[in-house]
């Protein structure tokens, strides 16, 4: 990571070449997929109509939700110390949503008429998938506005920056409302599947659970990213900020845990937890590793060290990944199950698009001012 600092502008970091190769491979495969159709290029089937792309999307959206959580804390709860991480968080959010958008576009079989989701006469407002599509699109536009000053200031356009700054509360506020909508709607999408999704995961509270999960996952991702990047760039890490991130995380983890356990008990699903099958084990694993462990870390003295929120973030992300994996893929029962292993094309398109996102992030870090200068950073 040290290689991407602005100090050695003339050296191309070693990581650049493999990332570029993966990105180009991904773009090539994406074009191939668009030309030949889903049946030829993927291993999805009538038994697994959704594959790895949807699972990755469902995981990336809460991770990229970091931008929305940090906006909320910074712009509305008046926490000045979050300002130092708004830019890196918003850019990560924008690129995360960019990857999600590309993967969703590649995932729809009839992509030449994707714009039907915007046609007023076609829009179905009872469909949470429609709602997610509209919100994610609008939110990506909001993120462009939020991140635009990074580029505008470099190129010397001061007037539009002033407009954006004047409207930042409206812009950020709209982003927060859109995030609340689509992060919860992502869970609501599975409300229709009460007879297919495993009962340990299906609950009418799915929208609330997905929303809370997005908040603590976004915060966890922020802690991870800030620790790694700040360390690599030699910036002083703000311990108070880390403690605050940790505390905000723990509140949302506790709410999630309470609702989850309450739902298991209320629906009489405790026997399913005690059953020695894959889903029982997965539910335990997700709850212990993804909820209890990070909560334990954050409620201990470790919350005062940067490694506390960092490791809590790592474990929370693992838990979130398991939940999204079960809900969108392995927990959806079909009769006569057949196996689904993602095809080469599916896997390397996914890797390629994420590599592309990382490349762009690195390029922006290198050529634009995303982080506070070390001498001006307040501890």
């Amino acid at each position: 990571m040290a290689a991407i600092t602005r100090s050695n502008k003339n050296n191309i970091p070693i990581a650049f070449w493999p990332l570029l190769a993966l990105t180009l491979l991904g773009i090539g495969l994406a074009i191939y997929r668009l030309v030949v159709g889903l049946g030829v290029s993927t291993n999805m089937s009538d038994h697994y109509p959704w594959g790895i792309w949807i699972t990755v999307d469902l995981f990336l959206i809460p991770v990229a939700g970091a931008a929305f959580t940090i906006s909320l804390l910074s712009y509305f709860l008046g926490r000045e110390d979050y300002h130092s991480i708004i830019r890196p968080a918003v850019l990560a959010g924008f690129l995360g949503y960019g990857v999600v958008g590309v993967l969703l576009f590649l995932d729809i079989g009839r992509w030449p008429q994707f714009y039907n989701i915007f046609v007023p006469g076609y829009i179905n407002l009872h469909s949470f998938l429609e709602e997610v599509s509209l919100c994610v699109t609008l939110y990506t536009l909001i993120l462009i506005l939020e991140i635009a000053p990074v580029f505008l200031e470099k190129w010397g356009y001061t007037v539009p920056i002033r407009w954006i700054q004047r409207g930042i509360f409206v812009i950020a506020g709209a982003g927060i409302v859109l995030s609340m909508l689509h992060q919860s709607s992502l869970g609501s999408m599975f409300l229709l599947m009460s007879h297919k999704l495993h009962p340990l995961w299906w609950t009418p509270a799915l929208p609330l659970l997905f929303y809370l999960q997005a908040v603590y996952t976004g915060l966890g991702a922020t802690a991870i990213a800030v620790k790694l990047i700040w360390k690599a760039m030699g910036l002083p890490i703000d311990r108070v900020l880390f403690r605050r991130i940790g505390q905000a995380m723990s509140i949302n983890l506790m709410l999630y845990a309470a609702i989850k356990v309450g739902d298991w008990m209320g629906a009489g699903e405790i026997p399913l937890l005690l059953r020695p099958d894959a889903f029982g084990y997965l539910a335990w694993f997700q709850f212990l590793i993804g909820i209890v462990l990070p909560l334990g870390i954050l409620l201990s003295k470790l919350v005062g060290h940067t490694s506390g929120p960092f490791w809590a973030g790592v474990f929370a992300l693992i838990g979130t990944f398991i939940e999204r994996l079960v809900v969108s893929w392995i927990g959806l029962a079909e009769p006569n199950p057949v196996s689904y292993i993602p095809s080469f094309t599916e896997i390397f398109i996914t890797i390629g698009m994420i590599a592309g996102g990382v490349l762009i992030y690195g390029a922006v870090v290198r050529y634009f001012k995303l982080f506070p200068d070390p001498e001006h950073a307040h501890a």
């Binding site: 079989g109 008429q113 915007f118 509209l134």
Partner: protein, 290 residues
């Protein structure tokens, strides 16, 4: 790609405005029509001889391709597919045996219609759940939404695959014809009629011959009611007709949409505004722990 920016904002504005307007108890998928008047089919498994005439009638009318066995001698689909919209399956138990016909159930409150983002799937006033490939974006949400595992996708070599399923011969109904499969059935195991009339007929059969039937007309109330209904001599679960309860599948989802969407769109900005006002007065600095 041809979408102009103006169209986009128009759509977005309409979407948000529309979400507020539909805050009422509107249920798009149930419609206004009387379910008893819907075109419907009754399948009596005890009368079916498994001849597959229905499968072939469907193929001829809808021009689908046969799925033959390895010797290319017999049309032998194993389950519904993009090419097989209806078929007969055989349940072979230890002491009992029964055929069962598969096709779209044409639910009274279809989950696929509720989930489809672009209204490519629609519940028509006559009863059939129809599909419009000019609207469909190929997201396959309907396949997951359907509790009967009916909508299928063209996974073969199609460049822009379509969703495929039984249409209840909507294109025949409008000419006053009945469904192709019911018309062809030689034993009258499958009959076509108005849903209300078929329910009366089926209940009469059960009461006249209680030993012959399981005392349940599957689809009368199951999953909120379907337009294709079943009588059977063996338990329905064994025929793959699961106990789905009597609540319409979309109810929880649409109820949540009606509360959450306007709730967040109105409540979110209000809450943020209040937080902002309080923060401006410095109210958060001491009290807010984060």
């Amino acid at each position: 790609m041809t979408l102009s920016r103006r169209d986009f904002f128009k759509a977005a504005g309409l979407a948000i405005g529309g979400a507020l307007i539909t805050a009422g108890p509107a249920q798009a998928s149930t419609g206004e029509a009387d379910p008893n008047e819907y075109a419907a089919m009754l399948y009596d498994a005890t009368m079916c001889v498994g001849c597959n005439a229905c499968t072939n009638a469907c193929r001829q009318w809808n021009k689908t391709t046969a799925e033959p066995d390895a010797r290319l001698l017999y049309d032998a689909p194993k389950e519904l597919s993009a090419d097989t919209w209806t078929m007969i399956q055989l349940y072979q138990g230890e002491s009992e045996t029964s055929f069962v016909k598969r096709q779209c159930m044409h639910c009274v409150s279809p989950a696929c219609v509720s989930g489809c983002p672009v209204q490519a799937l629609q519940k028509t006033a006559e009863g059939p759940v129809t599909y419009d490939q000019e609207r469909c974006i190929g997201c396959r949400y309907c396949m997951y939404a359907c509790p009967f595992h009916v909508p299928r996708f063209e996974w073969g070599t199609a460049q822009f695959p379509v969703i495929a399923k039984c249409t209840l011969c909507a294109d025949r109904l409008k000419d006053g014809l009945q469904t192709a499969c019911a018309e062809r059935c030689p034993t009258s195991a499958l009959i076509f009629g108005k849903r209300g009339d078929l329910i009366a007929d089926a209940e009469k059969r059960i009461s006249e011959n209680p030993a012959r039937y399981v005392n349940h007309l599957y689809g009368k109330d199951d999953a909120g009611g379907t337009s294709v209904m079943y009588l059977s001599g063996v338990p329905f679960e064994k025929l793959g007709l699961e106990d789905l309860g009597t609540t319409p599948i979309p109810e929880i989802s649409e109820g949540t949409a009606n509360i959450l969407l306007p709730g967040i769109l109105v409540g979110g900005p209000l809450l943020l505004g209040m937080i902002r006002m309080t923060a401006k007065r410095g109210g958060w600095e001491d009290t807010w722990p984060l």
